[in-house]
Amino acid sequence: MPVNSAYAGREYPPGPVYEVAREKLDEFADAVGADHPLHRDADAARAAGYPDVIAPPTFAVVIAQRAEEQYVGDPDAGVDFSRVVHAEERFSHHRPIHAGDRLVTVLHVDAIVERGGLSMVTTRAEITTEDGSAVARVVSTLAVRGSDPEVGA
């Protein structure tokens, strides 16, 4: 099934609160090889003016992905993950995410554009605190290949 262009412009309301744990930041920092002390040493983070240890710059993808699942996990949206290639990603931070943050995300499907046999799907996750102050924006573009009927997959 091709990507359903009727989903362009959709907005998904905030899902459950994501509570940022020190252990999760430690795990993520370890996975990307981020060894800066501000990711793990709370005293160093406070000395640098942060409330607690801070997340590496791309950690917001973990939170954004949960919100994106509402869209890409919807069979009617037609985003077949075996045909998806990640095309572009952008993070804009109002401030670093830190341990103890309680965050909610509103997901927007900004654009679905056909280009040379590909559907370019752009989503935007607006991550805020529970009381609505902006924390980060994650804009992600996926390239979805059209189906090949002769393959029958």
């Binding site: 795990e27 996975a31 590496p56 992905q65 095309a87 990603e89 804009s92 931070h93 670093p96």
Partner: protein, 143 residues
Amino acid sequence: MTGAVPRLAEIAVGDDIGTRRIEVDRARLVRYAGASGDFNPIHWNERVAVQVGLPGVIAHGMFTMGAVIGLVGDWAGDPGAVVDYQTRFARPVVVPDPGSAFIEVSGAVGSVDAESGTVRVDLVVTSGGSRVLAKCQAVVRLL
């Protein structure tokens, strides 16, 4: 964390921020899958990767993006100083088994905005001599 923290007033376009070489093996990808929640099998299962037309298991684009920005955060003295970070994923990094792939990153100051107190760092990210990230740019707040 090495060297002195760069000062906005002392930064000029073209300044080199350094280089880094990052080793990636399958275990690293499994670790990233677990930490990020991205369990797409093309990042750990050769059979599935080949089935969908890839040359083999490939690194998560977000792994590469997440790994190379460490160079910028360390240069700035504060990973929280990275206020904007974007890239296009130009080419996949194929990760062999057994063995490793290597990602090379180097960065230079592309512009200085004294008014907003930020600089743009342009990153060149290659693997096996090919550019894997394109238009890879980080905006960093400096004092």
